[in-house]
């Protein structure tokens, strides 16, 4: 019923549709088969009520409540996983039927001990006060910056998988400026930042240009450019220009003291980059919600055909948004390299670029959502170490929790059905599925 127009029309050729759009429509139609529109008007006269809500869009811009629930469910499942590796739990499970209370008690204590340790390692504990929180903020800084880049591209309808490569390029250029050139205080740091941001912007901009000019799909291009950036860095770290003198390992010289973000609070690693991340969050919020550029980005993301009809230069917007996304990831690269590590290694980007995709997803592609999702992930990373030390829970469990979060965000109906949020929908889906069978699925 929500099929847009199954009849091929003689000579009506919509050239505008890039293959992404076509895929979106296909996904929509598939979605429509299982879900008759809630808005009855849209079942009439070719008004397709949710023609513009592609699957990707629904995933990246869905309900914030679902995000929260996704985190909760992921933590619970993660807890069960933690408990399953606990010796005490295994032992008590052996005589579960004799004394189930033992087992349940062990299960509960295993879960809580791990999460308490996680909390103590990331926010507050009696010994160190709030200094773990400072570490969380430090770890979160590059995630927030890169997450903003991913979120911005999402809003313009582009699935930017390339934060990893953009971070690497920015860290590489920034580091070069940081240890090769010797400039005065303030100026040196600014030069490092500018170099890094330009590196990220170029690496993102290439994707935008390829997409706008040739229609190359940004997902493929960004993934490939991630590899290019990584191996370029590997190569550079083995050249004289980048390698630390007198050292054979792939590690650069330390950055000049003038080239790094100053420490904010003595005794912690928290640096000025965090405040930059806050400023960027505000900036991206303004860009998206208060500027003509953001208006164009959002219009292109939500309905490129209508944006084009209204005079928006979709190709220019594509290039611009990818360059900006790359620049934001570049800030992330600089934060990690010139703020936290102060040297360039082949592991400078770690998993930041990929985690930032999750961060943007969890933040529903809104600037402040991304900011807090970044903090949450920073807490996971910072607390995981403490958790392993205190309880022996493997650090990888955090990865599992992160992956589960992505899984649940990508499947909002799953979360909703777990929490029984929409019983009506299930019934209709069933009837519609039958309809599809009865009409031979020809809808």
């Amino acid at each position: 019923m929500t099929t847009k127009d199954p009849i091929p029309q003689a000579g009506s050729e919509r050239e505008s549709s890039a293959e992404v759009q076509a895929a979106d429509v296909a996904l929509d139609t598939a979605g429509g088969t299982l879900e008759p529109s809630l808005v009855p008007v849209s079942t009439q006269s070719g008004d397709t009520g949710h023609a513009e809500g592609s699957l990707l869009r629904r995933i990246v811009m869905g309900n914030g409540f679902v995000s929260v629930l996704a985190v909760v469910v992921a933590l619970v499942l993660g807890g069960i996983l933690i408990a399953s590796t606990d010796a005490n739990v295994t032992k008590t499970a052996g005589y579960f039927f004799a004394r189930p209370s033992d087992f349940l008690g062990a299960l509960w204590s295993a879960m809580t001990r791990s999460y308490v340790a996680l909390f103590q390692g990331s926010v507050f504990n009696p010994r160190q006060g709030f200094s773990p929180l400072l570490e969380t903020m430090t770890v979160a800084t590059p995630l927030i910056c890169a997450g903003l880049g991913v979120a911005l591209a999402f809003r313009a309808g582009l699935f930017n998988i390339g934060a990893q490569g953009q971070i690497i390029m920015s860290a590489t250029l920034g580091a070069y400026a940081g240890f090769t050139w010797h400039l005065p205080l303030v100026v040196h740091l600014l030069v490092v930042i500018v170099m890094g941001v330009i590196g990220g912007a170029i690496w993102g901009g290439i994707v935008g240009i390829l997409k706008a000019r040739t229609g190359a799909h940004e997902v493929i291009v960004t993934i490939m450019l991630n590899y290019v950036a990584l191996f370029l860095l590997d190569f550079l770290l083995n050249t004289a220009a980048f390698r630390r003198p007198g050292d054979n390992s792939p590690i650069s010289p330390r950055l000049d003291d003038t080239a790094v973000y100053p420490q904010l609070i003595p005794g912690s690693r928290l640096h000025l980059g965090f405040l930059v991340a806050v400023a960027l969050t505000v900036g991206v919020w303004w860009l998206l919600n208060r500027s003509t550029i953001g208006f164009e980005f959002r219009a292109v993301g939500a309905n490129p055909a209508a944006a084009r009809t209204a005079g928006v230069n979709v190709q220019r917007a594509t290039v611009l948004v990818m360059a900006m996304a790359g620049a934001l990831a570049g800030f992330g690269g600089i934060a990690q390299m010139a703020g936290t590590e102060k040297v360039l290694t082949d592991g400078v980007a770690a998993q930041i670029g990929f985690d930032s995709i999750t961060v943007a997803l969890l933040g529903r592609s809104t600037p402040w959502g991304t900011f807090f999702a970044g903090l949450l992930f920073g807490a996971f990373r910072a607390g995981a170490v403490q958790m392993q030390i205190q309880t022996g829970t493997p650090i990888d469990i955090v990865l599992v929790v992160q992956s589960l979060i992505v899984l649940f965000i990508a499947a909002p109906p799953l979360i909703r059905s777990i929490f029984g949020l929409n019983p009506a929908r299930k019934k209709r889906a069933k009837t519609a599925a039958k309809a599809a069978v009865a009409t031979g699925g020809a809808k």
Binding site: I7, E13, Q44, G49, A51, R298, T309, V312, T431, A442
Partner: protein
């Protein structure tokens, strides 16, 4: 053929707190054509989806021959002898007619091998009986829309439908095809099939119905005989007196400022979808472009706007060449553009009504200074336009995609008419819009003309073309069949829409 009497008793269907149907009683006597008349969004299609088993009613009963039935899906409805032809056909384009008809209940020989011979025979029999002229082995994608519709009807008849639901069947047809369909409906009725005919086009409804039931806002307003006057029917639909004829003064054409010369648009497959079209429009004049959907209208308007590639020829406005300019420049030259598909090209669904009202003005004063937008000005503009155009929205901040079709169209029209124009182009300006709003939008279009703007209207609804036009241009397969004055008889226009020139003599296409 057995006869089936169909009764709906107290049917209600709620979506959340919204009642699309409320306490509807309807009796379809056997062998009758029963028309459901109502505006878009009145709840006709919802009701039929309930009847066809696609929706479960919130309350109420369906009785077939006096026995209560519960349909849990279209399969149940079909088993009870109810068939439906949807507005958008449910056919697989790359399948043959026979394959499409067999789909869902494929006859097989021993061992599960598909056997279509039986289906072919049935199709030929039905086709001969009603003069459908359908070849069982033709590919559906090669068939004209009118014939595809007959395939849908055959599909229902093969499954022995005694009651046939036709949901807005004429929306996609030429006037001639519409007449043929009405004939088919009469034949089916003579053969004992009952028909539920859903439409909002008064002329067809009056021509073919035995009983007319009018639905408004989910409730039955009352029954009317087919002899009721169009004005009466329209008033029942809308709930207030409506004037169906537009009082417009004779056009006072002034200077010719918009000239299209030899405009050609080449499609990806190398054919010319717009083929050497030339016309001009004077200030204070409405040129209506008529034609069946898909004969180059879309490409023609999009070429003028600048979103089509491979365009040749010339389009000048006030002496300035528009071809080759970016869309933004064309709009800045004073072109107001209403695209034919508002959800696809006219609106950004997730955007608020307020944002959609500035969709092509967002970067201009007073809505923006530099790159900084002023939400206050955008909101002010929205409040004014919502009032002026009577846009029914919960608030200007509501997402445009949640509005009814008519109100969405008002948003687009309000936006495009809200700045000084040198040319106004509107495609399907009232598609899917209720009768009350049509009246309003038509008056706005005429007002724009009277303000001295050249106006180009593209419509597949002949009624609308006749209503608005000062001159009528007819397109067929990308070519201009001719430009005729406003008073040209419908029959002539109908023939032109099928490619026959105004002076008789068939086009070689």
């Amino acid at each position: 053929m057995g006869v089936v009497k169909l009764e709906l008793k107290g049917i209600s269907k709620a979506f959340g707190s919204f009642y699309a149907n409320q306490d509807i009683d309807l009796v379809v006597e056997s062998g009758q054509i029963h028309c459901l008349l109502g505006e878009n969004g009145a709840g006709k299609s919802t009701l039929m989806n309930v009847l066809y088993g696609l929706y479960e009613p919130t309350a109420g009963q369906i009785l077939v021959d006096g026995k209560a039935v519960a349909f849990r899906g279209p399969g149940d409805a079909m088993a009870a002898g109810i068939g439906m032809v949807h507005q958008h056909f449910m056919l697989v384009p790359v399948f043959t007619v026979a394959e499409n008809v067999a789909l869902g209940a494929e006859p097989t020989t021993l061992g599960g091998v598909l056997s279509l011979e039986e289906t072919r025979t049935k199709i030929r029999k039905i086709s001969d009986q009603y003069g459908f002229d359908v070849d069982p082995d033709a590919l559906v994608e090669d068939l004209p829309v009118g014939v595809q519709q007959r395939v849908e009807i055959i599909k229902a008849l093969v499954r022995q439908a005694k009651v046939l639901i036709l949901d807005e069947p004429t929306a996609v047809l030429t006037p001639q095809e519409t007449d043929e369909l009405l004939d088919i409906m009469r034949q089916l009725k003579a053969g004992g099939t009952s028909i539920v005919f859903i439409s909002h086009k008064l002329r067809e409804v009056k021509a073919v119905s035995d009983v007319i039931t009018v639905i408004r806002r989910g409730k039955v307003v009352g029954d009317a005989p087919p002899t009721a006057s169009p004005t009466e029917l329209a008033s029942m639909m809308v709930g207030r007196p409506v004037s169906l004829t537009l009082d417009k003064a004779t056009a006072q054409p002034k200077e010719t400022t918009f000239v299209v010369k030899d405009l050609t648009v080449r499609a990806a497959n190398g054919t010319n979808v717009v083929d050497g079209i030339s016309f001009e429009i004077a200030q204070g004049e409405i040129l209506a472009v008529a034609g069946v959907q898909g004969n180059g209208q879309t490409e023609l308007t999009e070429a003028i706007l600048g979103v089509q590639e491979h365009v040749a020829g010339s389009v000048t406005l006030d002496g300035k060449e528009l071809l080759g300019l970016p869309v933004k420049e064309v709009l800045r030259s004073g072109v107001g553009f209403v695209p034919e598909d508002r959800t696809h090209d006219g609106l950004v669904g997730p955007f608020s009504v307020a944002e959609n009202l500035v969709l092509d003005l967002y970067d201009q004063a007073p809505f923006a200074r530099g790159v900084s937008m002023s939400p206050a000005r955008v909101a002010e503009n929205a409040a004014a336009k919502v009032k002026e155009f009577d846009i029914r929205t919960p608030s200007p901040g509501s997402a445009a995609g949640t509005l009814s079709g008519g109100n969405q169209q008002k948003v687009v029209m309000a936006r495009e008419l809200s700045r000084p124009l040198r040319l106004f182009i509107a495609s399907q300006p009232t598609r899917g819009v209720d009768v009350g709003s049509i009246e309003f939008l038509h008056r706005r279009i005429v007002a724009e003309r009277d303000a001295g703007t050249p106006v180009m209207i593209v419509s597949t609804e002949l009624d609308e073309v006749v209503e608005l036009a000062d001159r009528i241009a007819v397109l067929y397969k990308g070519k201009l069949v001719g430009i005729v004055p406003a008073g040209t008889p419908r029959d002539t226009l109908g023939l032109m829409m099928a490619g026959v020139g105004p002076e008789g003599g068939s086009d070689d296409n």
